[in-house]
């Protein structure tokens, strides 16, 4: 639910998406044995909610908050930048980058861009000030930009 609320900022939309996600999970689970059930379910919820968010944005009905990963938009916005780099290579690079981070920073980064938590939520969860969270996220984005550049991914 927290993922859904983070993306949609509306209890009603989040409820409907969770409903859809439950159905998808129900349909997907029998043939699949996910390594991590939590991760598997979270991924489905996240995708359903992002699709809903996209639909609502198109209809200009999206409510309120910016989706956190819009902060990442200026890095590789679309296929025109680094067209030769495959999506799977970007994912591998991202996994490699996450491995290099200190645990607290990594958790903060994943909470922001996977769970799509607000800065306030991250600060409260981890016991840091909001300004520390903002600064750390900013610096980590810059580190990511540098990391990708060093691996030939032009951002």
């Amino acid at each position: 639910m927290s993922i859904a609320l983070g993306i949609l900022n509306s209890r009603q939309d989040a409820d409907e998406c969770i409903n859809d996600a439950y159905l998808k999970i129900w349909q997907a689970i029998p043939p699949m044995r996910p390594d991590s059930l939590k991760g598997f379910i979270g991924r489905i919820v996240r995708n359903v909610c992002l699709d809903r968010r996209e639909y609502l944005s198109a209809k200009k009905r999206a409510r309120g908050c910016e989706v956190p990963f819009e902060e990442l938009y200026n890095m590789l916005p679309d296929e025109r930048i680094s067209p030769d780099v495959k999506d799977s290579e970007i994912t591998d690079a991202l996994n490699g980058f996450l491995e290099t981070l200190e645990k607290d920073v990594r958790i903060m980064f994943v909470r922001r861009y996977w769970y799509l938590d607000s800065v306030k939520m991250i600060a409260s969860r981890m016991g840091f000030s909001q300004s520390k969270v903002k600064t750390t996220l900013f610096r980590t984005r810059e580190r990511l930009r540098k990391y990708l550049g060093e691996r030939g991914i032009d951002v």
């Binding site: 439950y22 991590s36 991202l94």
Partner: protein
Amino acid sequence: MKRGRIAEAFGQIDEKYIEEADAPVIRRKRCGKALLTAAVICLIALGTAACAAGISGIYRLKEYFEATRRMYSLPDFTASDGYASELGTDKVLSEGCAEAVSVSSDGHSLYVMIDYRPFEEDLEKLPKDAVGNFRQACDDIGACSGHWDTVSFENGVYTFIFHCLGIDKMPEDGITISLNGFGYRSKDSIGAFETLRDEKVEVYIPVDKLKYPEVKNGEGETEGVKFTAELSPLGVYIRMYDGYEELIEKMGMKFPQVTNVQLCLSDGTVIGDGYDYRKIFGLFAGSGGWVDGDCKCEYFAFSVPIDISQVDSIIFNGEKAELRDAG
């Protein structure tokens, strides 16, 4: 909406990072020897105050159910009251010892809250921020596994929740829960459990200490098969009579699922119907079944106790069974 390729790639990151970021934050506090005496005095004072205030294993089980209820946003008719029995003693646990502090059961499902004080040397070996746990927890009555997890770590004592369900008959003496291999789940490779101590720790639950809650009963017929339903705060127990094999085959399943059960509340709400169908998944913690003579029995356990006074009837496989208080 602007997503971008990095954001898309974020959706595919390794699940170990997703799990890591969602792990509960357990604060481990350690004090030096100089502070130990003062800490012990404080703990004794706190313990005395807690006992005086009536804070007990029952309270902690209730807290666990309340946290679960909030986490899954369960419907309003769930009750955090654990219908629990107190089992713990006032003794301070020695290193390597465990005890059941409270238990909640209706005869077919069993929730047990267990305290365990690890050896100090094991705690020293535990990586920073790792959550201590046992590799395996099992009972000696052959029940289906429900849930096993670390709940908290306070003052050198881990508290775990153990749940088993689908118990056909309670033993006459007691139930032994075996906790095997204290250790922790490694963050480096998903699924790998690092055992710090192989010794088995056993916890005994004397059955005569259990207080079973009030239940409601009903009966009905579906597809020509008679069934009885028993509702307790902890679960729904269905007994199917002659012809149950054909009934289950018609359901298209190997055994009845939670989706075959709906709860009708006094205010007209039907949990498990239409928009509310998802609530049934959160409400149930699992199911277990067995054959008793000519009957097929299936038990559906709730993840938190419910207030049965608000449930008027049960729908099983589309057929309603009105409930009345068991005499």
